[in-house]
């Protein structure tokens, strides 16, 4: 039995397995040329394929419109690319099988035609609305567009059919806006009851006249604009209803297949790392300054007398009953650095094997993560997986097209991202090939069950050394982010493959509730000999079933 910690480190460093590698080296170095040829010929079936598949073999990126601009995303004199529309996509909604509509950060809505063409040679641009204040969402609903501006939820309608909005109807407003740039407002997304959901950023370091526009909680003393750090819903009659609180930078909102609403948060003060949360009434997430609005009429959070600081998350949850753990933590750097939009794959398989799962945008690393959720004792938890990288810029918005492909809205101004563009719109298309991936990772009383997209090779999947697992948690504190703490290595006791080869039951010793369980399944091979396209997964084990 290999020491689990050693096995873990080895798997971290070595993939694919050493045996195959040694063969390669034998071929290159040790054997005379003739013998190497003989060996290669005779071992061809067992040896590694020379070019491993990569993400683009399964999900192809098509640029609908991306800037080619060397602009430094943080430059003081930031300029859009010359002679072009600054397509900094901040809101994205599908219109039909020809068109999408985008909100852009300078405050306009454009309808783009020809966006499904491949390649998109004849994209058309039609300006639909202007003079919006940094809109950060767009939704087509009932023959109108809805967007959340800094100060209100607005309905945009073209009542005289000239192709341009003439009615800018304020559906709901009333949240605080002190004038601090960080007070972004995101949304809306629609739930199945017809409510619009929106989320409100926390302001940072307010001063001067900004403070005149704050509310203050008499017990805790926090000051913020009204409902800052809250998730809100807006009923059909326009009533603004506070739902849940404790958000820092909730730039993504989305519904899962069961109709529950989620949001993503981004690492920062009080927020250990990026996270995915189930929004529901009376729940508190992380950022304590959201409690500035606790005493306002309509608040769903009551009786927080003291906010604990500097405790490991499990201890903080015990000390702070309103605090609820995220459904999924995205470990920093490993699963992104700033989570954004949430998109449900609602395409019945036209986007590949992940129907009904959630996809989460990633700003800094210009990528997408994938999320599997399950309910354990009535609460959501689940796992995140890397999915697709190398978008042209920071991913802020996602929307699934009528053909199942995914439109991706990009903009990196103000922060930084990988990629070569400052902004743009891309489309991610499933090539029809099924990647070998861990499709689902489910908690079990004695470990985890992995569901794969393709049958596994029984020998490698039964070998416990093909897997490694560690778990960690975070500190709940007011400072920026948290290291991964209380890290432990878990022993994989057994790996049992289902008769159809699609599932592996891992018996794992030492599961800890409320800890993130990191799995590396680098040794697993598919029946036709491929390694996993992504061998890492992170399961947030709030509850052991």
């Amino acid at each position: 039995m290999v020491n689990p910690a050693t096995a873990y480190n080895m798997l971290h460093a070595i993939a694919p397995p050493v045996a195959a590698r040694c063969l390669h080296w034998l071929c290159s170095f040790v054997l005379p040329v003739a013998a190497a040829g003989w060996l290669a010929a005779n071992l061809a079936s067992a040896a590694e394929p020379v070019a491993l598949p990569n993400e683009s073999d399964f999900y192809r990126l098509i640029s609908v419109a991306t800037s080619e601009s060397p602009t430094d995303s943080r430059a003081k004199n930031w300029r859009p690319a010359p002679n072009g529309l600054a397509l900094e996509v901040s809101g994205l909604t599908v219109v039909d099988d020809q068109r999408v509509a985008v909100a852009i950060r300078k405050g306009e809505v454009w309808i783009l035609g020809g966006v499904y063409d491949d390649p998109p040679r004849n994209v058309t641009y039609q300006r639909f609305a202007t003079a919006l204040h940094e809109p950060l969402g767009l939704l087509k609903h009932d023959d109108a567009f809805y967007t959340v501006q800094r100060s209100e939820l607005t309905r945009l309608r073209d009542t005289d059919a000239d192709g341009q909005a003439d009615e800018y109807r304020s559906i709901a407003k009333g949240w605080g806006l002190t004038g601090h740039y960080h007070e972004y407002a995101y949304g809306p997304k629609l739930d199945r009851q017809g409510n619009f959901w929106l989320t409100l950023n926390i302001g940072l370091g307010l001063k001067g006249a900004q403070l005149d526009r704050t509310v203050r909680d008499p017990t805790l003393g926090y000051r913020q604009g009204r409902w800052r750090g809250w998730g809100m819903k807006v009923a059909a009659d326009g009533e603004l209803i506070p739902v849940c609180a404790g958000m820092r930078s909730p730039s993504g909102i989305g519904m899962n297949s069961a109709g529950d609403m989620f949001y993503t948060d981004q690492q920062g003060n009080w927020v250990a790392t990026n996270s995915l949360h189930h929004m529901r009434e009376g729940v508190f997430f992380h950022h304590a300054e959201a409690l500035a609005s606790m005493a306002l009429p309509g608040s769903t959070i009551t009786d927080v007398k003291k906010v604990p600081g500097g405790l490991p998350y499990p201890a903080a949850l015990a000390a702070f009953p309103q605090l609820r753990p995220p459904a999924v933590w995205f470990p920093y750097e490993k699963a992104g650095q700033s989570a954004t939009d949430i998109m449900l794959d609602d395409s019945n398989g036209r986007f590949g094997p992940f129907a009904n799962q959630l996809f989460v945008g990633e700003f800094t690393q210009a990528s997408l993560q994938r999320v599997f959720l399950e309910k354990v004792r009535g609460e959501y938890q689940g796992a995140c997986f890397p999915f697709r990288s190398r978008f042209a810029s920071a991913v802020l918005r996602l929307a699934q097209g009528t053909d199942g492909s995914v439109f991706v809205g990009l903009t990196n101004r103000g922060w930084s991202s990988l990629g070569t563009a400052a902004y743009g719109l891309q489309r991610l298309v499933w090539t029809g090939k099924t990647p070998f991936e861990i499709k689902e990772m489910r908690a079990r009383p004695d470990g985890f069950e992995l569901v794969f997209t393709q049958p596994v090779d029984v020998a490698s999947a039964t070998e416990t050394g093909s897997y490694a697992m560690q778990s960690h948690t975070y500190l709940y504190h007011s400072t920026y982010g948290s290291d991964e703490i209380q890290r432990q290595t878990l022993a994989i006791k057994q790996a049992k493959v289902s008769p159809d080869g699609m599932r592996v039951h891992l018996r794992v010793a030492g599961l800890r509730e409320l800890f993130v369980h990191e799995l590396i399944a680098a040794g697993v091979r598919s029946r036709d000999g491929h390694p996993l396209l992504h061998s890492h997964a992170w399961y947030t084990l709030n509850r052991i079933p």
Binding site: R21, A131, R390
Partner: protein
């Protein structure tokens, strides 16, 4: 000398494979070793020597000196000459987890075959076979034991750090970077890589047609010569992706000599290039090193600090003794002289350079002999080294054994500084990209790789690295230092990147350039221009006449203009050069696209500063020196305004933004009539009006920190705080306060519903107050604002108390008529279509004019604002 001019990306050439195979088998069969040694060795590749010394473009002795330093002769054969400072080899700390151990073994066995062109000599070739084999084993064990953790990178919002980024490299992206950012200035391009520019330049076509004799006659021999490439060696055999990625990220941490410069790559960029360079390797991670290690190298983890005595007691004693043996050899064979290792003394002394018998030194020149390394030099190289050594010996015998100063030495040199400079440029291969005095520059067949973003054509100046001819006169040393430190990228339109070289190797360059180019005695700004400060404004006007057609300023430019931003130019170039360049650009920069604005030194613009060319140039300098404090030149300002100033030409323009005087829910509305207002949608009130220019939207549109928008025009007037309408129980009840308390403005009382645009684009604001729906339309009329409030009772209508309109408010109100008042601010409100004249009342510090509104179902009140 066989040059490898294209990367061997697809498969290792058979000879190499054969060699490698044989080298490995040497441990089994001595016979095969001799076969391997029989293979013709490659001579060391020193870029400056190959390009300039071999064809005779520099003095043979200079080529010799270059070789002496690049081959690190003086690491063993001491010399006081600064011109001959040894380059030395890579730092081997961390070699154990950076390099494939099998590669180390093969390289030690036959460096010139394993890495063609290497400057590392064959150290062991002179040993008897058995001894040699044992030495290799020991050295591999020792070098393999030198482990060092890789640096860790911390991700932030400003720094993407994908975990295990070195595994994420994309060979296609790496290939593109490799061919775009400057790698191919020195290294070979992939034959199949397609640049955007495919058409040969006229010069290329000419070169193509001429035969060698003609080329020589026309002085084009240099331009026609293919510039050979710095060989990369068999990277897949040497590195894995992690190791190569980290090398590319920080080349100087292992190669402090800086011959491979630091391109300051992003983490994923480095991974991409590594993936491209290693694409023949089966994609993977550390497996290559570990696999090799597990077979070939004793599993000992002794760092240098862990001397044999400190080795873990459980360690294999044979292995640790092998490591110790290797360490001893590392000193005794003088490896350490080039590869310094903390705690290891230098090797035994060798003959000082000046006393070498240069006619005999064949051991070093050719193959390794007993006690002497073999550098595998070819005849040209031997001849050049001999010349350099002759010069050293001559100086030594003439008693001048110190640093080579003065011109009394046997081989005359123009000056030590220019020698230093020339050798410095040759060593760092600056001339691979830059020309200086007609030497060097981007080589033939490589120019197409130097592209601009968007492939805009702004000539070779716009895509090739700038020439260094006269740079010591042109650039201020402080600026040149910044460039050399990697902080001088002003040519952002180019894809090529100026890499960074180690400070120790470039710190003297600015002074040396200045000295060599006669720029050491630069005139001060005052000496050149006199007192030019007051001339900034005419300078600004002059910029408009030409400069702005090609140069941006402070990030602003005329449409389509791409080039060097002139902001900061006075910190970069010398005033004298600036003056001369403006007077006659092509005298300083042949074939420049910069036109002459002062033909024969005469200004073309007699209307500014009386047409005095010197004063005009001084004025431009003065303006550019303080460009941050002055307005942009009119044409650029107009272009900027065109992009960002909202000019309502024929329809109203709206901008929703932050405004200091209209709050955080401000909706600014600009009209072609040049009268504009801002509506505060939070407090449901008209907040501000002004005339003239409307607004600049740049801050609202594109500045992250969302600064408040400022009215550009004049005649700003603020309107009294507070909502327009209120239901008051009686005429004495206070007007609702809404400017600070958000609850009363919103909540049950006022509800803002947005606006509708009519056919002409004029917004009508809509809100509900109590049992009333209000449509509020404001637009210019005869230079003033006309406001129409249409108030409709909602059904069922329950309100019993009276609805009041507040006509005006201020510290004092002056009655102008029955329905007209002017406040102390100068704002006059006149109302039509109301029955009652209303009343004036004092509420605390302000006077209010309120009017009761009595109507059946709907009424429209017209208010005219004049100021």
């Amino acid at each position: 000398m066989q040059m490898v001019d294209h990367l061997r990306f697809s498969g290792r050439p058979a000879a190499d494979v054969m060699f490698v195979v044989l080298t490995v088998l040497q441990t089994v069969s001595l016979q095969t070793i001799s076969i391997a040694e029989a293979a013709p060795p490659d001579s060391p590749y020193v870029a400056g020597f190959e390009r300039f010394a071999r064809p005779g473009e520099i003095a043979p002795e200079v080529g010799g000196r270059l070789l002496v330093s690049e081959l690190s002769c003086t690491a063993c054969h001491s010399s006081p000459s600064e011109l001959l400072t040894a380059k030395r080899g890579p730092i081997l700390a961390g070699a154990g987890n950076r390099l494939n151990h099998q590669w180390i073994r093969s390289f030690l066995a036959a460096p010139h075959q394993m890495k063609p062109g290497t400057t590392m000599p064959d150290i062991l070739g002179g040993l008897p076979a058995g001894e040699r084999n044992a030495a290799i084993n020991a050295l591999v064990a020792f070098i393999g034991s030198l482990e060092r953790p890789y640096p860790e990178f911390k991700g932030t919002g400003a720094k993407p750090v994908p975990s295990e980024f070195w595994n994420l490299g994309d060979a296609r992206a790496g290939r593109q970077l490799y061919h775009r950012i400057g790698c191919v200035a020195c290294h070979a391009a992939d034959v199949d890589y397609e640049t955007v520019e495919t058409k040969p330049t006229p010069l290329d076509e000419l070169l193509q047609q001429l035969d060698p004799a003609e080329l020589k006659e026309m002085g084009l021999a240099t331009a026609a010569r293919r510039v050979t490439s710095v060989p990369l060696g068999d990277l897949p055999a040497k590195y894995n992706r992690k190791a190569l990625t980290h090398f590319l990220l920080a080349p100087h941490s292992t190669r402090p000599a800086g011959r491979m410069p630091d391109f300051q790559l992003g983490l994923v960029e480095a991974a991409d290039i590594a993936a491209w360079l290693l694409q023949d390797q089966v994609p993977g991670t550390a497996a290559e090193i570990k696999a090799a290690e597990s077979r070939d190298v004793p599993q000992v983890r002794a760092s240098i600090a862990d001397a044999p005595s400190a080795a873990p007691s459980g360690a294999n004693s044979l292995d640790s003794s092998l490591v110790a043996q290797g360490r001893d050899l590392f000193t005794s064979l003088r490896c350490v002289n080039c590869h310094a290792i903390d705690g290891l003394a230098t090797g035994p002394p060798a003959m000082p350079l000046a006393r070498l018998d240069r006619s005999v030194g064949t051991h070093c020149y050719g193959t390794a002999g007993k006690n002497a390394p073999g550098f595998s030099l070819d005849d040209d190289q031997v001849a050049s080294v001999k010349l350099a050594l002759a010069a050293v010996a001559a100086r030594s015998t003439s008693g001048d054994d110190g640093p080579e100063r003065g011109t009394s030495s046997a081989v005359a040199a123009p000056s030590p500084e220019s020698d230093q400079l020339q050798l410095g440029l040759l060593r760092l291969n600056c001339l691979a990209c830059h020309t200086r005095d007609k030497q060097g520059g981007v080589g033939r067949y490589r120019r197409a790789f130097f592209e601009t973003y968007g492939n805009i054509d702004i000539g070779d100046e716009g895509r090739l690295p700038p020439p260094l001819t006269g740079v010591g006169r042109k650039l201020k040393p402080a600026w040149l230092s910044r460039v050399l430190q990697g902080n001088g990228s002003i040519r952002r339109h180019m894809r090529i990147r100026m890499p960074v070289f180690p400070a120790a190797h470039v710190k003297d360059l600015p002074a040396q350039f200045a000295m060599a180019d006669g720029g050491a005695r630069q005139q001060s700004e005052h000496e050149v221009f006199g007192d030019a400060g007051p001339l900034a404004e005419p300078g600004r006007a002059l910029l408009d006449t030409g400069c702005v057609q090609c140069h941006p300023l402070r990030g602003n430019a005329l449409s389509g203009v791409v080039g060097i931003d002139l902001a900061g130019v006075t910190d970069r170039v010398q005033p004298e050069w600036f003056r001369e360049f403006l007077l006659n650009p092509s005298s300083l920069k042949p074939r420049t696209r910069m036109p002459t604005f002062f033909p024969q030194g005469m200004s073309q613009n007699p209307n500014v500063l009386a047409g005095d060319a010197d004063r005009q140039i001084a004025a431009m300098w003065a303006y550019l020196k303080d460009v941050e404090k002055h307005r942009l030149p009119d044409k650029i300002e107009a272009a900027r305004s065109q992009s960002y100033e909202l000019v309502p030409d024929n329809r109203p323009i709206l901008l929703r933004t932050f405004m200091e005087k209209a709050g955080t829910h401000a909706i600014a509305v600009g009209f072609p009539e040049m009268v504009h207002f801002a509506f505060d949608a939070e407090h449901v009130r008209l907040a501000l009006a002004w005339r003239g220019r409307f607004l600049d939207a740049e801050g609202t549109w594109f500045v992250r920190f969302a600064p408040p928008a400022q009215p550009l025009g004049t005649d700003q007037i603020r309107f009294p705080a507070g909502v327009p309408l209120a239901v008051l129980p009686d005429a004495a009840s206070p007007w609702p306060r809404t400017d600070v308390d958000q609850d009363t403005a919103e909540g049950d009382t006022y509800r803002y519903f947005g606006y509708k645009l009519d056919q002409s684009g004029v917004p009508t604001f809509q809100y509900r107050y109590n049992d009333y729906d209000v449509h509020d339309r404001i637009q210019p009329q005869a230079g003033h604002l006309l406001r129409k409030l249409t108030i409709t009772k909602r059904q069922p209508f329950r309100s019993r108390a009276t609805l009041w309109l507040r006509g005006h408010a201020g510290k004092s109100l002056q009655r102008d008529g029955r329905l007209s008042y002017t406040s102390e601010t100068g704002l006059q409100t006149s109302i039509q279509h109301v029955d009652a004249a209303g009343e004036l009342r004092r509420q605390e510090t302000i006077v209010e004019w309120i009017i009761p509104l009595n109507f059946d179902r709907q009424t429209t009140v017209e208010m005219r604002y004049q100021w």
